[in-house]
């Protein structure tokens, strides 16, 4: 694994094979948590952390995992890291833990984690697997942060909780609710696909 390979992995995960744009994974959380930037940031940081470390652990253990139970073991490792995140938040950042409520636990069901474990960590050495998890998480993060930026700005008139729009600006209720994420994901997908193919279908 050379620097060139690592570079290729990050380019794939951040853009050409972005988990949201191309793999269409993790859409459920894209719809649910993206109406506030702060929640989105903490959630995507959690996903990035768990993706990186679960990939690392799975890549270390892959030679000992029997094929029949490999997916169960992957879920076990993923849940382990998610619960660790939950415990740490509860002990050291109780306010944030309170704000996120059930969403931390729901990281377990994020399809990107299973997807990367099965598609990459299961057949690659530990360090590239860690890198793959990390960049996948960041690829997911920047797309979600873009959506959250638009939704919070138009829906609440704030950014990270700070009011930014003038008082006469109407708040778009639709942006607070899940349907707006559908529109925004679709619009972003369209733009991204268009750029990748250079306008050709």
């Amino acid at each position: 694994m050379t620097a060139k390979d690592l570079n290729k992995i990050s380019r794939e995960n951040l853009w050409f094979n972005n988990p949201i744009f191309i793999q269409i994974l993790g859409i459920c959380s894209t719809l649910a948590v993206t109406n506030l930037l702060t929640n989105t940031l903490i959630m995507t940081l959690g996903v990035t952390f768990v993706a990186a470390f679960s990939n690392l652990t799975i890549a270390f253990m892959k030679d000992w995992i029997p094929r029949k139970v490999r997916m169960i073991v992957q879920v076990l490792i993923i849940s382990f890291y998610v619960i660790i995140v939950d415990i740490l938040l509860r002990a050291f950042l109780p306010e944030i833990s309170k704000n996120l409520g059930p969403y931390v636990g729901l990281i377990i069901t994020n399809c990107i984690l299973m997807g990367r474990a099965e598609a990459f960590a299961q057949s690659n050495p530990p360090f590239p697997a860690f890198w793959d998890g990390l960049t996948s998480g960041i690829g997911y993060m920047w797309v979600l942060m873009t959506i959250a930026f638009v939704r919070e700005l138009l829906g609440f008139g704030t950014l990270f909780g700070f009011p930014v729009t003038p008082s006469w600006f109407p708040q778009w209720t639709i942006m607070v609710m899940a349907p707006s994420a559908f529109f925004l994901v679709a619009i972003l997908l369209w733009i991204a696909k268009n750029r990748m193919t250079g306008g050709k279908a």
């Binding site: 649910a32 929640n39 029997p66 094929r67 169960i72 059930p102 607070v176």
Partner: protein, 204 residues
């Protein structure tokens, strides 16, 4: 031993599950004291802010909390405090929201005619939607809210955010996009007002 053999699979699954669960148990045990302290502090802070008692540091919370009298009336635990020459009471409440139980503190005056304040201790509502019950703009609406004929009203549906809120009339703006949570708050708090009225009504 064959890697795909049944024995290896069973032993491997057992060992790996045991190992990870053991580590989690350790992490949980190691932080349980801090978590408990956080929860207790959060509960005391909630009681103080529901009763509109200002505090700034965690140390102050402890001292102020000790000044509150804890009573047991008809099997219900009440917190009693004198604020600005008036006696006010607070009670812990809990009731079902959309996803889970909402727990919090409700503080009222002696006649149960006015709410002093509410605080949310715990909830599992949707972050960004129902989860906004814990946000200051929602809770602040209850400060000094008059209970009309012993009742208050949290608007929901098309009424939420329509500017109907009125402290004199006991009407609070519900949360846009979270009708069920707003409805639940209405039900829970009105139920609590009835209970408080029953307990405190007899002391006059």
């Amino acid at each position: 031993m064959k890697k795909d053999g049944i024995l290896y699979t069973v032993v491997f699954s057992f060992v790996i599950t045991f190992l990870f669960v053991f580590l989690l148990a350790l992490a949980n045990e190691g932080t349980s004291e801090i978590v408990q302290k956080n929860q207790e502090l959060a509960r005391q802070k909630a009681i103080l802010s529901a009763m509109a008692i200002p505090y700034s540091t965690d140390k102050e919370v402890n001292v102020l909390y000790k000044s509150i009298e804890i009573l047991d009336k008809e099997g219900v635990r009440l917190y009693k405090s004198m604020q600005g020459g008036k006696t006010i009471y607070a009670k812990e409440f809990s009731g079902s929201g959309l996803w889970g139980t909402i727990t919090g503190i409700l503080s009222v005056d002696e006649q149960v005619s006015q709410i002093v304040g509410i605080q949310i201790v715990n909830h599992n509502e949707t972050p960004g939607l129902g989860g906004r019950v814990a946000e200051p703009w929602f809770k602040e609406q209850f400060r000094g809210l008059k209970a009309k004929n012993g009742k208050i009203r949290v608007t929901y549906g098309a009424e939420a955010g329509s500017g109907k809120a009125n402290k004199e009339e006991g009407i609070v703006d519900g949360i846009t996009g979270a009708s069920r949570t707003s409805q639940s708050m209405d039900t829970i708090l009105n139920g609590e007002l009835v209970v408080l009225k029953k307990i405190l009504g007899g002391t006059k």
